[in-house]
Symmetry: C2
């Protein structure tokens, strides 16, 4: 049986994909895939997604060069979430952090702190235009 | 500024929460929270979610005893995903696996394999009734 038969996409045809850096175990980002971007990810070994805000198919790193090489594609018990192990080239976050999860809650939610160093400024990654 | 002001919930008032085992870095599950379950999670230090299928507020482990003690709550650059570090008591998956992501793709998606041992059978966790 193909693993595609085990997956449940949303009514919009999407499935959330958690991206984890295999080497460190760090969770880098979460983004959405449609069937086409998942197939392209499996076929090419580079992560591809569907941008809900831009309504656009995209390859991670297509503008920034910060591509992700796929090491493993797992799916959960309900078939409604993907977990993709990658080798990350450069910073995963478009804000220049290694992981998009660079802020944590403090004091029971009253405040938060930045938990990692910014590796690059967005304008140094993309020029003046912000992208993902 | 409260971190709640940084978050974007869906039109249904939900936000996806990735749960990671802090000790091992293993991603255990992904589930959805509403504002009330997030507040309860932050307040009590035990993970609480909103079940979309059952339309119900629930605490992880309320039936199985497999609770999660919160060690860190992070949120991503877009404020639309949470990453929660926990100490996991027992198996996280209702199918008796440590992680819900116990299957991985093989042969470019044509097949998949089970990648970890089943620690318990669901009927030994819940009796005859399946739950989460």
């Amino acid at each position: 049986m193909s693993f595609y038969d085990k997956l449940k996409f949303t009514s919009d045809g999407l499935i959330p994909a958690i991206v984890q850096e295999q080497k460190t175990g760090r969770v880098l980002m979460m983004a959405w895939m449609n069937r086409a971007s998942l197939e392209k990810t499996v076929e090419t070994g580079k992560t591809h997604f569907w941008s809900r805000s831009r309504q656009k198919f995209w390859m991670k790193g297509e503008e920034s060069g910060h591509t992700q090489t796929v090491k493993d594609v797992a799916f959960d018990c309900d078939g409604d979430t993907l977990l993709i192990q990658v080798e990350q080239n450069g910073a995963a976050c478009h804000e220049g952090y290694q992981s998009c999860f660079f802020r944590s809650v403090e004091n029971q939610g009253a405040e938060f702190k930045v938990t990692e160093a910014q590796l690059q400024r967005p304008e140094d990654i993309y020029g003046k235009k912000k992208s993902s």
